[in-house]
């Protein structure tokens, strides 16, 4: 602490005290100490981050922040880097401050909530900033998507991050590349090049289908996921930039995983990658992680090995075994993420038993209208039986009905414990649980209480 000023030292002491009190009170409190710290010393993130010997890196996106950060951590730790990392997912300013307070390491790795990104990045001054995607999320929390895009644009132009790592396939994100200050390091772009995984039509949950520069609609040569794809503007000529980090020859393997060929800049020949995480969305997470790791100087061997070592986090396509029943948990929190889960499930053979849990607590988004933007129609023909649960269970049931699931296959049980037991008891094969965020936390507690062990369908 010797190089910190007295105000920051005092703030750090108070924040540590808050952490102790918070733990004694039995609260997790991952961001409370950080909040205390920032209350006393609003400049604490900047001061603490400046002491990291190898600087820091930041990650933001609507979907995939936690998984991408876990991939980057797996890569960098393989190379011996000690990380200060907000693993617990507390990703607003308080959570970043709390990690800096607790952490001892060489390099900071922070996932940051998309709404609070600009303030945190201006304090962190990271070596590299990864922006993965900007998709429709809890609009009741954040107002409209354009407002976030405008804040990201101002941040990109400010040069607060020395280098940007951008998704070339997301037009809103890729457009930030042209705003990077000319005296900074050039952005690294990543993207998918495989028409085999392209969709026939734009998914309903797509948002940025109009040009950021001139407002004309984009023309797409290929749609991959939401509004991600190969696009161009026929009015002003803006088009998807050529990516430096690329996935080709993608083979999706149901909910078990994915295989692809990874091209890195200045590396001869593609690297074959086997991800133990399913779906095209995780291929994008892996590309973002590989590009950010490249910007931070990781070796190709560490990148390949790190990506392959990552296993699903709880609730993110995790597979567990209850006595007598395998359960796969697939978090769904917004239409784009839900569509990837639904598309992945539709690849599995046979008819599925489903437990769909829709909560409307603050962390889920109070507005549940997004379920109508999700392409539940993809899943409907594969539903053997669906139990709908959570605080808005009947509204999920109506969504299933209008997607084409016959009413006699739909069960409504608002209490999640009864719903889980009913679904597990009446299932014929594995049970696919699709919870929103707080529902996923409830399910976790229930599964542990019922003796769930890690398992696998493989």
């Amino acid at each position: 602490m010797s190089r910190l000023g007295p105000r920051t030292r005092l703030a750090v002491a108070a924040a540590r005290g808050a952490a102790v009190l918070s733990r004694r009170a039995g609260r997790g409190g991952t961001s409370l100490p950080g909040k205390v710290l920032l209350r006393i010393d609003p400049d604490a993130v900047r001061r603490l981050a400046a002491r990291l010997p190898r600087g820091s890196a930041a990650i933001s996106a609507t979907n995939g922040k936690t998984t991408t950060a876990a991939m980057v951590a797996a890569i960098l730790e393989r190379g011996g880097t000690r990380l200060v990392h907000n693993r617990a997912g507390a990703n607003m300013a308080g959570g970043v401050a709390a990690s800096l307070l607790d952490g001892r390491g060489d390099l900071g790795l922070f996932e940051v909530d998309e709404m609070w990104l600009d303030g945190v990045v201006r304090d962190l001054r990271p070596r590299a900033l990864l922006l993965g995607n900007l998709l429709r999320d809890q609009l009741d929390r954040y107002g409209e998507l354009d407002a976030i895009a405008d804040r990201w644009a101002a941040l990109a132009a400010s040069g607060a991050a020395r280098r940007m790592v951008l998704n070339a396939d997301d037009p809103t994100v890729a457009d930030l590349a042209r705003l990077a200050p000319a005296d900074g390091e050039p952005p690294i772009l990543f993207g998918v090049e495989d028409d085999g995984v392209a969709l026939a039509v734009l998914q309903h949950a797509s948002d940025a289908t109009h040009c950021r520069r001139c407002g004309a609609p984009y023309a797409y040569e290929a749609h991959y996921l939401g509004h991600l794809g190969r696009y161009r503007c026929e009015s002003c000529g803006a088009r998807r930039p050529e990516p430096h980090v690329v996935a080709r020859d993608i083979r999706l393997d149901g909910i078990r995983g994915a295989n692809f060929q990874l091209t890195l800049p200045d590396v001869a020949g593609p690297l074959p990658i086997r991800l133990e995480l399913p779906g095209l969305y995780n291929v994008y997470n892996a590309l973002g992680a590989a590009a950010l790791a490249t910007a931070l100087g990781a070796s190709p061997a560490d990148i390949a090995a790190g990506l392959q070592a990552v296993r699903p986090a709880f609730g993110r396509a995790e597979r567990v075994r209850l006595p007598g029943r395998d359960v796969a948990i697939l978090l769904v929190k917004n239409p784009a993420g839900a569509n990837e889960v639904l598309r992945t499930l539709a690849l599995e053979d046979g008819e599925h038993d489903v437990l769909a849990v829709l909560n409307d607590r603050i962390a889920d988004g109070r507005d549940v209208s997004w379920i109508w933007d999700a392409d539940v129609e993809l899943l409907a023909p594969h539903v053997r039986r669906v139990v709908c649960s959570g605080t808005r269970a009947p509204e999920m049931a109506v969504r299933m009905k209008y997607a084409g699931v016959p009413s006699e296959r739909i069960v409504v049980e608002e209490r999640i414990d009864r719903a889980l037991d009913d679904a597990a008891e009446h299932a014929d094969g594995p049970l696919y649980a699709l919870p929103t965020y707080t529902a996923m936390l409830e399910l976790r507690a229930l599964l542990v209480a019922r003796g769930a062990a890690e398992g696998s369908f493989a």
Partner: protein, 243 residues
């Protein structure tokens, strides 16, 4: 045959507006009523005689501005002719603002269709967000009914002296958070801030819209609405107005 037309579906569909169209489509199909769903976009002519029900959803500011200019330049007269003919027009959120006289956003004033005597202003202050329930009295409906949904708007909408609100706010903000009014209705033209989406939470209103669009004297034949009724009750509970 019910002829439905969505206006600017690629620009005005930010709040799950597809759910509203899906309710109309499926509930007609289950009754053996054919549905033709078309769309009209920027720069395209709207034929006032070709449709029975027009739908406008909500969009982001930038997209809404594009639509406002297109309505003023291309579709204003056709919209008035359609309303005159008794065509049902349902406009939600941004679409509602577009049916009024104008929408003032900072220094800019977007033109509107002028079908409803309302004006909207984006004020400083928080967006009006949350679950909402209102009481409505509609012609050919069986007494006062409740609509439940979710609102999320920065604009404050004020009715002209002769304009009727769609309903009275029971819980939530409504048009401006002050007047106790929600939405506006003139004959078969309805504007509202209620999404969530509106019709999946209030299936009876979908049926009412179809009845009016087809000019039927009697309500549509009932369906098995056990799930729909439960969803309505759930949305009412969320708004704090249990049945």
């Amino acid at each position: 045959m019910l002829r439905v037309c969505a206006l600017y579906p690629d620009l005005l569909s930010i709040y799950a507006d597809r759910g509203n169209l899906l309710l109309i489509e499926r509930r007609c199909a289950w009754r053996g009523i054919g549905v033709e769903l078309r769309s009209v976009g920027l720069g395209q002519r709207l034929d006032p005689d070709e449709h029975d029900l027009l739908y406008l959803g909500g969009g982001q500011d930038r997209d809404q501005a594009l639509c406002a200019r297109d309505i003023a330049e291309v579709k204003r007269d056709a919209l008035h002719a359609a309303a005159e003919r008794g065509v049902v027009i349902l406009a939600v959120c941004g679409g509602y603002q577009l049916l009024g006289h104008s929408y003032r956003l900072g220094g800019e004033s977007l033109p509107g269709a002028g079908l409803l005597d309302v004006t909207t202003v984006r004020e400083e202050g928080p967006r009006l967000i949350g679950n909402v329930a209102i009481e409505v009295e509609l012609p050919q409906a069986d007494g006062p009914r409740v609509l439940a949904g979710f609102e999320n708007h920065g604009g404050r909408t004020v009715l002209g002296p002769d304009e009727e609100p769609l309903g009275r706010v029971l819980r939530g903000h409504g048009n401006d958070g002050r007047s106790g009014h929600e939405g506006a209705r003139r004959g078969n033209v309805i504007g509202t801030y209620m999404h969530g989406p509106l019709l999946p939470k209030n299936a009876w209103l979908a049926d009412w819209l179809v009845q009016r669009a087809l000019g039927l004297d009697e309500p549509l034949a009932p369906l098995d609405d056990a799930l729909e009724d439960a969803a309505h009750a759930c949305a009412r509970r969320a708004a704090g107005v249990p049945a």
